[in-house]
Symmetry: C2
Subunit: 402 residues, 2 copies
Amino acid sequence: MRQQPRPGTAGSSGPVTEGARPDDARRHNRAAVLRRLHVDGPCTRAVLTGELGVNRSTIKAVVSDLTESGLVSERLPVRRSGAGRPSLLVVPSAAAAVVLAVDIRVDRVAMALVGLGGQILGRCGWRLRPGTERPAELLSRVLEEAPVLATEVAAPPAGVGVSVPGVVRRADGFVHEAPHLRWAAVPVGARLSAGLRLPVQVANDAELGALAEHTRGVARGADDVVFLAGDIGVGGGVISGGTALRGSGGYLGELGHMVVRPDGRICHCGCRGCWETEVAAPALCRALGLPVDTARGELLASLRELAPDTAARKLDEFTGWLALGLVNVVNVLAPRLVVLGDLLAALPDPVLDRVAAQVRERSMVSRALAHTEVVRSALGRDAQLIGAGELAFAQVLESAVG
Amino acid sequence: MRQQPRPGTAGSSGPVTEGARPDDARRHNRAAVLRRLHVDGPCTRAVLTGELGVNRSTIKAVVSDLTESGLVSERLPVRRSGAGRPSLLVVPSAAAAVVLAVDIRVDRVAMALVGLGGQILGRCGWRLRPGTERPAELLSRVLEEAPVLATEVAAPPAGVGVSVPGVVRRADGFVHEAPHLRWAAVPVGARLSAGLRLPVQVANDAELGALAEHTRGVARGADDVVFLAGDIGVGGGVISGGTALRGSGGYLGELGHMVVRPDGRICHCGCRGCWETEVAAPALCRALGLPVDTARGELLASLRELAPDTAARKLDEFTGWLALGLVNVVNVLAPRLVVLGDLLAALPDPVLDRVAAQVRERSMVSRALAHTEVVRSALGRDAQLIGAGELAFAQVLESAVG
């Protein structure tokens, strides 16, 4: 039930609003302006007034609050348009709110400090030997690298987001299974928040890829999106009605473990013929006549070097399974947009064209929608890292406005 | 962005609040109390105060408003508990807000007038000859029967909800495809609202089954639910985070058109080996050695008469496909509860037990959730009809409170 805004009850935990005790409405306006600037970049006060549907004096007060807190500044645009005095731009201050993003993959870890506005202020990373990395050691190294990175950039983070290729309990970042890492029952959230003394949020990698594409990639503004990431495994993130779907416990999106070929290969999950057994990296290697554990760089190079007709021929069966699974995904989830990430974004044009055509022709939901589009990720291998940053920012921006 | 409640801007379209011009907060309180009574039945003012988290004087004022409008009355409970003067119950007045529910199926149409509180006040229906019914004739008959039913019950409806086994555009009730009815491009919403001069909402049958089970059936209070209805076709409705999922255009949930057996039978949708070809009525008939067009009653009788070991043997393959598809559904959507409706609710215990066991063992998401439950629908064949009523009530209750 909607409650009347009650003055004086808003939290004042942020570094910003000491003594201000603003009411909920004002706090919400600050959060909305800050989020708008963080996601869509600098703009004038007039634009903020129009987009947020509040009056000019409200925006003036909000921008003044945010300026006082050091979160934004106002300055002249670098490029002027037209004659006359240009309007000031409200610009988010990258260093005023910083998060640590951690992307744990099967073959490497990437870490970045991300500033307000989405700018990557600094990054580091290291390779893993697939399947041999023990969780305790990997998390210890994250704990060691984090302060080094923060010192280099001179920007301490206020929150942490972590991407893990596995089944993650969102409430506390407990990783039930991360099969390709050979992890089971790892308390990633608890371990990192104890070590870093910061709020830590952990989520499934494909969920974060979807969040990144929806916030800063090809799916901006789209309400119904499936992000499908294919690497060593296959996972999906789903945006429905503009909101990320979680499912019970946050476990939604194990699209790779949809059985599509009941007489196929045994999957590590215990089923036979999961989609993942047909369209992840090992299947791609088999199709190209490479060893199944070919390094990512070499596999990508092989894909780039394929002539179009060779690609169509060698990847014929692979293309069929990718299309079949996507028809299923579109029929079940009714997205208007499917974004292919990681290795799937590196598939040659003829393959992607055929997949998109099959979805158009064979999915009854795509026919009703006239049609669901299939596109490549815009963010490439950084999608999950950027998503981890946005996961942390969702919380950090809330606290930053008091 | 949250706005302050602005007095005097609430609509006053309902029959109830002439001249009242209440503010938004009061209107929201009325809507919340009315919805609580409609869904959960009569209770005391003290219970309302506790459940809705507002103070006693607010509830008193709201109940007084609703009583004046004739939507509720207060009366002594029939059964008394304990000594002393019993508290009055606030009781929804069934005839004060009535909707027309229409459930169009492949083999019959059912219509009901449903009163506030969910009571079915009157119903009618007729059989169809599968696949031969033209949409214009069927909708004409709905238009003819509606006033007859309203006269019998002496309760004119204020809104209409319609269930259709097909791909429905929610915005205007346009039916793209209803393959088992052999309908394509039928403007059901426009036709019925023009004929009945009432607001009409149309939705997919499985979506409404999910709504019904979530509001009045086995899925009450569950946040993440998949309702799977198997009849002539197979469809699914999905509740995620307590909210019905729609997908783009409202087309989410064609679970029956997930390909699970790529070398299987050709499906009417154009794919080969859809789940629907393995677990809908014709597949059940084949498994039991009956003609594929066996009438529903006869098929149900055959299921009831099966001895447990015969059921397990004859339905062995059917059970396998049902389990395989459910493992997929649980991995993709992460429900805590799967509700089987229509014919699937009539499957013998040994079959259901085996399906539930396979989901527990083979779905990695079910394992993380420890575990997803698989249960029968509580509402039986009325689920879609009740869901159509609730679809209409969502709008009617909004207007009833002004």
